[in-house]
């Protein structure tokens, strides 16, 4: 059995802890092939909830983890809880980058966004009704050294490989649960829409950046022009400054938008996790069907040998016809074997059936939970996005009236500047 859920131990439950990823630092070390490398480590701080509730403020326990350790943890969870939509990690490499944004993993902005993403991951896992009780998770949060060994000891690695293979395999399932098929279809849609949105957003960001930067050119011209003007001079100067500020403001705007993009990305990756759960169902269902089919054919064989009636074409039947029937001892042996196999097969089918049903039940519950979470989170993300856009616009507009209320000067200037 793949599921090896450890019994929840109250004082070890991660749900009762306050968790945060406080900092990030650069480290130098040697990697597996003994080459020097620079990597970033993140400080994971934990504090028991009850201590906080009681008003005590003990120093948090903390340890350093790097991204690859988070990955390890997640892979373990994926294998151990195939019926759970496991929260995703922030992206490994910077993707969906608009051109000015650095794709460098060492870039401080990227590191900062990753830190937030990792914290988000831990919080989601720790607040999950099932995942939060996992022992390995608890070790991850509390024991800096030796954690890796503990994980490997669970032997999840082997299961991880077969899982990956199964995910990409093609097989035909006869009777999949309709709901899961729909959910799988939905996960495909979610994936496609979020990635489309992210790509479109990048293109928009690129163009918007261009527009703002060209406005910056006005700044220079206005300043130069103001030098030869008398009454218009002041107005032009302030217009020039405004243009410079305007052009510079795009960096902040797009940085804010990155946060929105990160929220979308989370659900892009979540869609993958959702799809994996559906695929797992297909796999278990398929295995069940295979086992059932196998059992049926074995029973048939048994019947054939026992009764001598050949219902379907078989090689044995042919060879019997051609070369004569076999000896009764052989027949007995074969029957015996088959009976054993049938018994095993029935066991297998029972197990598979249970596995399948359990998976369906648990997965359905978690998928519902996921759906609710997704609706809530994305709605909030959209609202925040809209509010951010509005406040950005207001910022630009609020800096403009300074121009209009400047000293009186020629109408030409007014016409020109009011067009911005």
């Amino acid at each position: 059995m793949l599921c090896d859920v450890t019994a929840p131990v109250a004082d070890e439950a991660s749900a009762l802890m306050e968790i945060c990823v406080a900092e990030a630092e650069k480290r130098n070390g040697r990697n597996t092939v003994n080459m020097q490398e620079t990597f970033t480590v993140y400080l994971v701080e934990t504090r028991p909830m009850d201590a906080v509730a009681e008003g005590r403020n003990p120093a948090p326990d903390s340890l350093w983890r790097r991204y690859s350790e988070f990955e390890l943890l997640r892979n373990y969870l994926l294998v151990t809880y195939p019926y759970i939509v496991v929260p995703p990690l922030p992206e490994k490499r910077a993707e969906f980058v608009w051109h000015k944004l650095s794709a460098d993993n060492m870039d401080p902005d990227f590191v900062e966004r990753r830190r937030i993403g990792l914290e988000n991951f831990l919080l989601r896992v720790a607040s999950h009704p099932v995942l939060s009780n996992d022992k390995i998770l608890h070790h991850f949060l509390t024991e800096e050294h030796g954690w890796k060994e503990v994980v490997y000891e669970t032997g999840f690695q082997a299961k991880a490989d077969s899982r990956l293979r199964a995910l990409s395999a093609t097989f035909r399932v006869r009777n999949p649960d309709k709901r899961f098929m729909e959910m799988k279809h939905y996960s495909d849609e979610l994936q496609s829409h979020t990635s489309q949105l992210l790509r479109a957003r990048v293109r928009v960001a690129d163009r918007l950046y261009g527009v703002y930067k060209v406005h910056g050119n006005y700044g220079r011209v206005f300043s130069e022009w103001s030098a030869v003007e008398k009454e218009m001079g002041d107005g032009l100067q302030s217009a020039g400054h405004h243009m410079d500020a305007f052009a510079a403001s795009i960096d902040d705007i797009l940085e804010e938008e990155e946060h929105y993009a990160d929220q979308l990305k989370e659900y892009l990756f979540y869609a993958e996790a959702l799809r994996a759960v559906c695929r797992k169902h297909e796999l278990t269902q398929f295995e069940l069907e295979m086992a059932s089919q196998d059992l049926v054919s074995k029973k048939q064989q048994h019947e054939e040998i026992a009764t001598g009636i050949v219902r379907t074409f078989s090689f044995k039947g042919m060879t019997n016809k051609l070369f004569g029937q076999e000896a009764p001892e052989q027949r007995e042996a074969r029957l015996k074997l088959l009976e054993e196999l049938i018994a095993e097969g029935e066991e297998t089918v029972k197990e598979k059936t249970v596995e399948c049903e359990e998976h369906v039940d648990r997965a359905w519950v978690d998928m519902q939970r996921f759906k609710e979470q997704k609706d809530k989170d994305l709605r909030e993300a959209l609202i925040n996005y809209a509010v951010m856009q509005i406040s950005m616009c207001k910022k630009v507009r609020s800096s403009r009236p300074a121009l209009r209320r400047g000293p009186s000067d020629s109408s030409g200037r007014v016409i020109i500047l009011s067009s911005f």
């Binding site: 293109r203 509005i390 406040s391 507009r397 020629s410 016409i415 500047l417 067009s419």
Partner: protein
């Protein structure tokens, strides 16, 4: 009708000239109007936290995000109302004192055997005595406007005539009869005419009167062509040395160059912005549609997604308008002022020319005087006398006994006893040059082509001294002068 400085203009009431604001200047009225504009600005900040109670700054509670409250949230965010305060007719401050109103509208296509062209209706409403009727309505085509402008330029060469829209359009590139082009051109013609009508000096020009009232403009195209030719002859045959400009004109010239250059740069930047903006718009539209298509596959999230998609679409519309506004309101203004700079440069060139001519003659005269010591004054009056008289340009009224009044030159147009050059009709031959020179000097102190009517009596001392000196034999320049006289006279 002669144009003089002492006249009080009906449209300006009893205000002295110096206090009348030129239509092109800003003026205090504008600031007043700005202050009067009420700007609605309701600043609302909405705090939407995860589980925090969201509330508006005015204390009204907002429910935590639920399908109903999402839209109410947006409804409660009010943006500043953008008053269209500043984009208005800059001439309204003179509205109370205006008595000449002109409009150009109603374009119509005319097809004849020879050509196809567009005419515009020019409507006039006035209470001025110079006009026979209070209202007029005529049809004019671009050529007529061009004729008017030429006439204004010739009759008042020191004044800055507002520019016309471009005359020639590349046949292949722009469709002369497309609605957009005709619309743009008509607006520019309307602006041109309004500027002329509001000009304290130009609006009293008889040619404007004719333009506004005559059923059929007898444009005398032939002569117009000749004038144009004459001008170019003037430039080519001038052959004068490039004289150094007085400081004010130098500064003016430099300013014009800088101004022109800056306008050009701004125009280029604006074009670039338009281009970038349109590309941005394309991407934004695409972005909006992604939201809509995602909404189709969602249930709970459908409304917020469609909401965002709708907002993006609205932004696209607004951006479109912004682009249109820029190309229709902003860019033409820039181009107009580039044309203005051209006009100003022309005026400066003319000034340069007359300075060169004058100084050239002066040098020649001095040379002659040195060569020839015989006093000419004892000779009987030669046929050249009328000419000589004309070159004497005193800065104060001549006395009755002065020689210059003794002979009334045919076509010279001098009114005896009223002072020298200033009463002369602007179309007088060489007088024009002198007046030009002096008024040109006066206008130098005003930048941006603002033409306050010059107090014509003041003449800088350097010129005055030169003028006072009786010129020597000027016979050599006679032919050139005659030519000029014929060419300039309308």
């Amino acid at each position: 009708m002669s144009v003089t400085a002492q006249r009080c203009m009906a449209s300006s009431g009893q205000k002295p000239i110096a206090e009348i604001l030129h239509p092109l200047s800003g003026g205090g009225d504008e600031q007043q109007q700005q202050q009067q504009q009420q700007q609605l600005s309701v600043t609302v900040s909405v705090v939407v936290g995860g589980d925090k109670e969201a509330s508006l700054t005015n204390g009204a509670p907002v429910e935590t995000p639920s399908p109903a409250s999402t839209s109410s949230l947006f409804n409660r965010l009010q943006l500043d109302d953008d008053p269209e305060a500043d984009v208005r007719d800059p001439y309204t401050e003179t509205a109370e004192t205006r008595d000449l109103f002109v409009t150009v509208d109603d374009p119509k296509k005319h097809v004849s055997t020879m050509e196809t062209y567009i005419t515009y209706r020019v409507s006039t409403k006035t209470s001025r005595v110079e006009f026979d009727l209070p209202e007029y309505c005529v049809r004019r085509r671009y050529q007529d406007f061009d004729w008017l402008r030429m006439k204004l330029e010739d009759s008042q060469p020191t004044h800055l005539i507002p520019p016309l829209p471009e005359k020639f359009v590349m046949k292949g590139v722009v469709d002369r009869f497309s609605e957009e082009f005709v619309e743009t051109r008509m607006k520019a013609l309307d602006k041109f005419l309004k500027r002329v009508a509001d000009h304290p000096v130009l609006s009293f020009n008889p040619h404007l009167n004719a333009f506004l009232t005559a059923k059929d403009l007898n444009k005398r195209q032939g002569l117009a062509l000749l004038t144009k030719v004459g001008e170019s002859v003037k430039h080519v045959a001038g052959g004068y040395k490039l004289r150094p400009r007085p400081a004010e004109f130098c500064a003016m010239g430099e300013y014009l160059d800088t101004f022109n250059q800056k306008l050009g740069t701004i125009d280029r930047i604006a074009q670039r912005i338009l281009k970038e903006q349109s590309e941005y718009l394309t991407e934004l539209r695409e972005y909006g549609t992604v939201y809509s298509s995602w909404a189709a596959s969602e249930e709970e999230l459908r409304r917020p997604l469609e909401g965002v998609g709708g907002c993006v679409a609205t932004c696209c519309g607004a951006l479109d308008d912004l682009g249109d506004g820029m190309s229709q309101d902003f860019l033409p203004v820039l181009r107009e002022y580039v044309l203005y700079v051209e006009s100003m440069k022309n005026v400066l060139r003319k000034r340069d020319q007359s300075q060169a001519e004058y100084e050239g003659r002066l040098e020649a005269a001095i040379l002659r005087k040195q060569e020839d010591r015989t006093p000419h004054l004892l000779d009987p009056p030669t046929p050249l006398a009328p000419l000589r008289r004309r070159t004497m340009l005193p800065e104060r009224p001549c006395s009755r006994s002065c020689l210059c009044f003794s002979v009334d030159a045919g076509g010279g147009g001098e009114m005896p006893g009223q002072g020298g050059v200033f009463q002369r009709r602007p179309e007088g031959g060489l007088g024009a040059l002198a007046e030009q020179q002096e008024t040109g000097l006066q206008t130098a102190s005003h930048r941006h082509g603002r033409q306050e009517h010059p107090p014509l009596r003041k003449v800088p001392s350097s010129v005055g001294v030169a003028l006072n000196r009786p010129p020597g034999q000027t016979g050599r320049g006679q032919n050139a002068r005659d030519e000029l006289k014929h060419l300039i006279a309308a």
